[in-house]
């Protein structure tokens, strides 16, 4: 195999790597994708929401064939206190069914399907192939060393799509080791339920579903989020906790998930369900400032490997797809010019900056540090807000002004009125 030289080798068959490969193969480039799992998707995990945009630009109307679960017609946001939650959400039929906004998906099924689309476009997919290192000559990446018997493969350019742990970018010296406050450790369960039960519990038509983002006291004061998504015949329930907080507060994600399943707002939604699978994965949480250099001599980095996740909107796979497409297009142009140097690939960084990917990350660049340094959002407000709401709606003979005063006292005692005002003002500034 060492004699053969590909235009591009893609390391990792996730949404970023596969879309990069498809974009290149569609333009006629010779592309190989190396996947360490038994099949594309077998190692891949996410919460479970996949957006139509931007994959439909690469594969128009892909959702008509792709293994998607339910079109999400309602997105709920719940702030969990110990005894319940307060929440809001948006439900709209414009989210479905003609051109859905997003779906719940299983990556193991979806990525496998996407890899078949890549093969149909002419991509060579090699599974059970772990890339152990990058081959370099004179400071330029020229291929990969794999766990295969005849393991070295050469290419003009390597697309680094090996996910959040990206050992390849680390070994390349592009970024130092990931810091514990830049990733969340997440766990998830797939809990099976009959389709009719899901339709009833979430008040949806067949094929339609609900997503619920969970914030609140269940993280036991740690920076973290939970989620509950309805699939065709199951619920995905999971959470992620910042790794630095796991260490600081001595928490166990598996215990927190087990407690979340017993929460009074969650338990009825999963009651009678059977756990089918338990999964774990890291989620990039560092935002804009954690994004490393994304291209160099003979290489580009895409998706989670480049830490492209917008946590506030729990968007990741769409950023991965966009980065994959832009990287693929850049490499196609590099091939036309015959220039795979850092200069020849620099267009990728510029395209990424000009896209929603880096614009959104830049908009929220202050968020990770602010949340990390504001534990009140995880250990004071969830219970306080729920108690305030409960006080306000409980009829007990007290007048409404008296209720208002009780709530102000609650805020004053637990957070301080000035602190609460400043949190609101700062919040506005940090997210503007």
């Amino acid at each position: 195999m060492a004699d053969e030289k590909f235009d591009a080798i893609v390391v990792g068959a996730g949404p970023a790597g596969l879309t990069a490969a498809i974009a290149m193969a569609q333009a006629g480039l010779e592309v190989a994708v190396l996947e360490r799992g038994a099949f594309a998707g077998s190692k891949n995990v996410m919460g479970g929401i996949f957006y139509r945009h931007p994959l439909d630009q690469l594969l128009p109307e892909f959702w008509k064939q792709a293994p998607v679960e339910r079109a999400i017609v309602e997105q709920r946001y719940w702030l969990l206190g110990p005894n319940g939650h307060m929440g809001g959400g948006v439900r709209s039929q414009s989210f479905a069914p003609e051109t859905p906004n997003c779906w719940s998906v299983f990556r193991s099924k979806f990525d496998r399907w996407l890899s078949e689309q890549a093969e149909q476009a002419g991509v060579m997919l090699l599974t059970e192939a772990t890339v152990e290192s990058l081959l370099q000559e004179n400071g330029k990446v020229v291929g990969v060393h794999t766990s295969l018997d005849d393991g070295d493969l050469n290419a003009e350019v390597v697309v680094i799509a090996d996910g959040v742990n990206s050992l390849l970018l680390r070994d390349l010296g592009v970024h130092p080791e990931i810091k514990p406050n830049q990733v969340a450790s997440s766990v998830k369960e797939i809990i099976s339920l009959p389709a009719e039960k899901i339709a009833d519990r979430f008040n949806v038509e067949p094929g339609q579903g609900v997503s619920i983002e969970l914030f609140g006291s269940f993280t036991q004061g740690a920076v973290g989020l939970g989620f509950l998504y309805s699939n065709q015949e199951s619920i995905s329930l999971g959470l992620g906790i910042l790794v630095s907080d796991l260490a600081r507060l001595k928490l166990k994600t598996s215990d927190i998930l087990e407690a979340l399943k017993e929460h009074p707002s969650i338990r009825p939604l999963i009651a009678g369900g059977k756990t089918e699978e338990y999964l774990a994965h890291l989620i990039p949480e560092g935002g804009y400032h954690a994004v490393p250099r994304v291209s160099g001599e003979g290489w580009v980095a895409v998706g989670d490997a480049a830490m492209l996740v917008d946590n506030l909107h729990r968007e990741g796979s769409n950023l991965a797809v966009k980065s994959g497409i832009l990287a693929g297009q850049t490499i196609v142009r590099a091939k036309e010019k015959g220039d795979f140097s850092a200069a020849g690939l620099a267009g990728y960084q510029q395209a990424l900056e000009a896209s929603f990917v880096m614009k959104d990350l830049k908009k929220y660049r202050r968020l990770p540090h602010w949340l990390e340094s504001s534990p009140q959002f995880f250990n004071i407000y969830p219970e306080l807000m729920n108690d305030a709401g409960t006080e306000f709606l409980t009829v007990d003979g007290a007048g409404k002004r008296e209720k208002q005063n009780r709530i102000l006292k609650m805020v004053s005692r637990r957070r301080g009125l000035w602190g609460a005002v400043m949190d609101a003002v700062k919040g506005g500034l940090k997210l503007k």
């Binding site: 998707g41 979806f110 772990t130 890291l282």
Partner: protein, 92 residues
Amino acid sequence: MKLEDKLFLVTFNADNQSHISVKDQAICAQCREKPCINGCPADCWEHEKEKNEVLVSFEGCLECGTCRIICPHGNIDWKYPRGGFGVKYKFG
């Protein structure tokens, strides 16, 4: 539901060699917190008190990388399993 029962639901194709190891047991012996033990979502790490060593059972590793990041001493040698080995998710 117990964690061991959940892990029983996961499909693994375990290699005969570990993809994770402690670089230097002397460093672990002095590490008070040992956050790898609590941090691992699959309970792969344990402190063997008699020999005062930190041991890993790689067979049930979900390959998340939490131990790699949470170790305050960078003392975990962490690679991906060889091609085709390790966890194999049905749903993902």
